[in-house]
């Protein structure tokens, strides 16, 4: 079923890619079909206690496999990804008017993203997770850059890609370390790990999660990504993709929460982001940016709660994950509707919308109250549980989490109040275009969803509970309560609501300036700097001179030999096996050295022949007559070829400058030394004696010949010989082609 759904997604994607232009806007409705089926499957599975798995092994020895596992948590994520996906597809149908350009392409990319995101939340193998993680980054880049004619859009899209894809590389490094320490690549089998490698890996994984979930200081890409069409912002940058980092922290939590640095990093990212994001939401004046900064803050709270990892905190985080998808998705879609109908989303230019858009206003109020954590909405339950989790802790953790959760909640109430008052509050009435049902229905569904979730808390608890159990490593998890009773958390909640509302209402109508976004500029400067560094490096190393390339490569290769210097053992070295060997060795080096001084091509060819014949003689005294014979014949052929090709070039070799010659001699000498070091070190690790008797017997019995070398070539390793003669055949073709090319050119010239 898992593969069936994924294949269906990909197939519809392919159809849309081909027929999207012809289908136009209705391709968005076609695109909604696969997510709808996934959502249905996810709903049908909700009560099922067992996990659905699917697995497609590619290289079993390397643990390379597409492994999926849909457990309780992945089931909830499926509903969020596919359920909201369907609504967003329908909404996009209304968002792009009948005449909008490139809607087919948009639908294709959006469905591709939806597929990647499903793969990500279903993945059990970390490599599968990584692949889909990077796919979401790429599809997100394409979606953010949908209006690709605008420079601002392109800069924002590049920033989003660089930060999230760069985070993907960090993730790969972290996963390699963690899986190496854990001894498995399956997330479901990860056991608690410790040690230096695991610690470094855990920190890298947390950093990767922070890039994807837009945690300070990696956050600037998320507000920038608001240049995307609103369906994209609602779907990717509120409900799903930015949750990928949170999902990663959640599923890795049981294995890594024992590592202090993991928790420390998570709390630092989370707590700072909660507060900084909420402050940003209070200061910005573009309704969409207010929501984007609010998302940074909410994601920070999720990261904080999952990093703490206590059962209550995990339950609060899972609840908040669901609640956030509902209310933030709704609010984004509402802002998109306002943007389409009023032509602006700047809070200074909006007014009187409570009267002119009553349905939208009602939906916004429901979603906003859920975001602020007011009863009787699901956001209240989530926030109440989060406060309870914070109050349960002690030590410095309690202070950090308390500051994050309670301080963040106050600010959340404040920016929610400011948002509602500023967008819907009094003011000169903004003129609106005609109402579109496809635009107002999806946010209303999501907003009512928050209310329904509160009403149906019992069944919901039965779904969220097992997920929390899975993510807290199997610990006992409490139940969610509609009304917690009179307890400290409720008192804190009440104070939060009152203080936050006062601050928010006070700030609501105040005019002001949107803050300058320094962090975005620094991020772009860092990206520009990297690109400039790459260009400078290319300009430096790519100068077009083949000799310099070769010397550089040889010098680098030489460095690789230095670690083996210590391995040379003199015990296994003898002067020579026979004195003749020493004489021949000296002769071959002498002939080679002579090549450097002989000025004419003919003389050089003869010296090359001398060196080759000496090598053949070395083979003779080594006991390798086949090699000696072949070497002699080859050498003769090469010398004839050399003389044919160069013999009549009477001019002597050109001389290079002294400085460059010195560099070449130095690198060549080092290269020779490196080979000596490598071989000398290898001689210290002799392998066992070769199985000569077996080879001799096999040669006669199975190969039918007594020349063992020949039998190896024609029988035992016959495939190697086949490859070798194919190389020769290719050479023959190449040489012939070169000759013909010359003939053609000369023919046409004459």
């Amino acid at each position: 079923m898992i593969f069936g759904l994924l294949v269906l997604h990909v197939a519809v994607c392919a159809v849309l890619a081909c027929a999207g232009r012809r289908l136009g806007r209705s391709s968005l409705l076609v695109g909604a079909v696969p997510p709808a089926l996934s959502a249905l499957w996810g709903t049908a599975r909700l009560g099922d206690g067992s996990a659905a798995t699917a697995d497609l092994t590619w290289v079993s020895g390397l643990d390379l496999a597409m492994t999926f596992r849909v457990d309780a948590f992945a089931g909830i994520m499926t509903l969020i990804v596919s359920g909201i996906g369907v609504l967003v597809f329908v909404y996009a149908f209304g968002y792009f008017g009948p005449g909008a350009a490139r809607t087919g392409r948009f639908a294709t990319t959006l469905l591709a993203f939806s597929t990647s995101m499903l793969g990500l939340v279903w993945a059990d193998s970390v490599w599968t997770l990584f692949v889909f993680w990077e796919l979401t980054s790429v599809t997100s880049f394409l979606l953010v850059g949908h209006k690709s004619t605008d420079t601002e859009v392109l800069v924002a899209a590049r920033r989003a890609l660089m930060v999230t894809a760069g985070g993907g590389l960090v993730l790969l490094a972290g996963l390699l370390l963690v899986t190496g320490a854990a001894g498995t690549t399956l997330i479901s089998e990860l056991a608690p790990v410790d040690g230096t490698a695991a610690t470094v890996g855990a920190v890298l994984v947390m950093i990767a999660a922070a890039t994807k979930s837009a945690q300070v200081p990696f956050h600037p890409w998320l507000p920038g990504a608001m240049v995307a069409p609103t369906p994209v912002s609602a779907y990717l940058h509120a409900a799903t993709m930015v949750k990928a980092g949170v999902v990663l922290v959640a599923v890795a939590g049981p294995a890594l929460s024992g590592i202090g640095a993991w928790k420390g990093c998570g709390l630092a990212f989370g707590a700072v982001s909660v507060l900084w994001g909420a402050l940003g939401a209070l200061r910005h004046r573009d309704a969409k940016l207010i929501l984007a900064w609010g998302t940074i803050s909410q994601l920070g709270m999720l990261i904080t709660l999952f990093s703490v990892g206590t059962p209550t905190a995990v339950l609060a985080a899972v609840s908040l994950l669901v609640a956030h998808a509902l209310f933030k998705g709704a609010l984004f879609l509402i802002v998109g509707e306002i943007d389409v109908r009023a032509g602006t989303r700047h809070i200074d230019e909006l007014g009187g919308l409570a009267r002119s858009m009553p349905v939208t206003f009602a939906a916004a109020t429901l979603a906003g109250l859920s975001m602020a954590g007011a009863p009787p909405l699901f956001g209240f339950v989530a926030k109440e549980t989060a406060i309870k989790a914070a109050l349960e802790l002690d030590g410095p953790e309690a202070w950090i989490v308390g500051l994050g959760v309670i301080g963040g909640s106050v600010l959340t109430v404040a920016y929610t109040a400011r948002f509602l008052v500023a967008v819907f509050g009094p003011g000169p009435e903004t003129p609106l275009s005609a109402r579109r049902h496809a635009l107002s229905a999806p946010p209303a569904v999501l907003a009512v969803g928050g209310l329904a979730a509160f009403a149906a808390l019992g069944p919901l608890d039965a779904v969220l509970g097992p997920a929390a159990v899975r993510l807290s490593g199997g610990a006992q998890v409490e139940h969610l309560h509609r009304w917690p009773g009179l307890e400290p958390a409720l008192a804190v909640s009440a104070v939060v609501l009152v203080v936050g509302a006062i601050v928010g209402l006070a700030m609501g109508g105040r005019p002001g300036q949107a803050p300058a976004d320094h962090a975005a500029r620094w991020t772009d400067a860092a990206i520009d700097g990297t690109v400039a560094l790459g260009r400078a490096t290319v300009a430096r190393v790519q100068h077009g001179s083949l000799p310099v390339y070769l010397v550089t490569m040889a010098a680098v290769a030489t460095l690789a030999a230095t670690p083996f210097l210590a391995d040379i053992s003199l015990d296994h070295l003898v002067g020579w096996h026979t004195p003749l060997q020493g004489v021949l060795a000296a002769t071959v080096v002498g002939a080679a050295a002579a090549l450097c001084f002989i000025g004419t091509r003919l003389g050089a060819g003869l010296a090359l022949g001398a060196a080759g014949i000496t090598v053949a003689a070395l083979f003779v005294i080594h006991g390798a007559p086949d090699l000696a014979l072949t070497q002699l014949l080859v050498e003769a052929a090469i010398v004839v070829g050399f003389v044919l090709a160069f013999g009549h070039l009477s001019r002597s070799f050109p001389m290079a400058g002294l400085r460059w010659r010195t560099v070449r001699i130095a690198v060549a000498g080092l290269g020779g030394a490196a080979v000596v070091i490598g071989l000398g070190a290898a001689s210290g690790n002799p392998v066992g004696a070769p199985p000569l008797a077996e080879l001799a017997a096999a040669s006669v019995d199975e190969g039918g010949g007594s020349n063992i070398v020949n039998v190896i070539l024609t029988d035992i390793r016959g495939l190697d010989t086949l490859g070798e003669v194919l190389v020769l055949a290719t050479v023959a073709l190449g040489v012939q082609a070169l000759a013909r090319a010359g003939a053609g050119r000369e023919g046409s010239a004459s």
Binding site: R535, H543, G544, S545, P547, V551, L573, V574, W576, H577, A585, V588, V589, A592, L595, C596, L608, A611, G612, L618, H622, G623, A624, D626, L627, T630, Q631, V634, A637, F642, A645, F653, P654, A656, G657, R659, V667, A668, G669, G672, A673, V676, L679, P690, L692, L695, A696, A697, V700, S706, I708, I712, D720, V727, L728, V731, V735, L738, A741, R745
Partner: protein
């Protein structure tokens, strides 16, 4: 392992590298051949001590030299023979086109580098 062979391999490699980094195609061919010699001698040296030819029936198995590296070496000789022939044909083609056997700078590479870095021409230490 024989130190004499080891030093011969080192010497062949060094001279081969020196010739390979020159500008004249004929010397590049010479350098390539010498590197080939160094490689085949290294293969044989790494394969074990000298012995009798590995022909069953003519010597006791324990007195034979190791046949497997010999088979590998034979393949190596053939392949380097083929590639040397190809290099020679390339060199002849170069001579047909330019009348000489010098390796020119890759102008395409140079152009890319110039585009990336702006108008300044990078210094080429190999230019004479």
């Amino acid at each position: 392992m024989s130190t004499a062979l080891l030093l011969a391999i080192g010497g062949l490699t060094a001279v081969g590298l020196y010739l390979l980094t020159g500008r004249s195609l004929s010397r590049i061919v010479l350098g390539y051949s010498l590197l080939g010699h160094a490689t085949v001698v290294a293969l044989i040296t790494a394969g074990g001590p000298a012995g009798w030819p590995p022909i069953a029936g003519q010597a006791a198995p324990e007195d034979m030299s190791n046949p497997l590296p010999q088979a590998l070496t034979l393949t190596a000789i053939v392949i380097s023979f083929g590639l040397t022939l190809f290099l020679l044909a390339l060199a002849r083609r170069q001579r047909t086109l330019s009348g000489d056997d010098l390796v020119e700078d890759d102008l395409e590479d140079r152009r890319i580098a110039a585009v990336e870095s702006g108008p300044t021409e990078p210094e080429d230490p190999a230019a004479t």
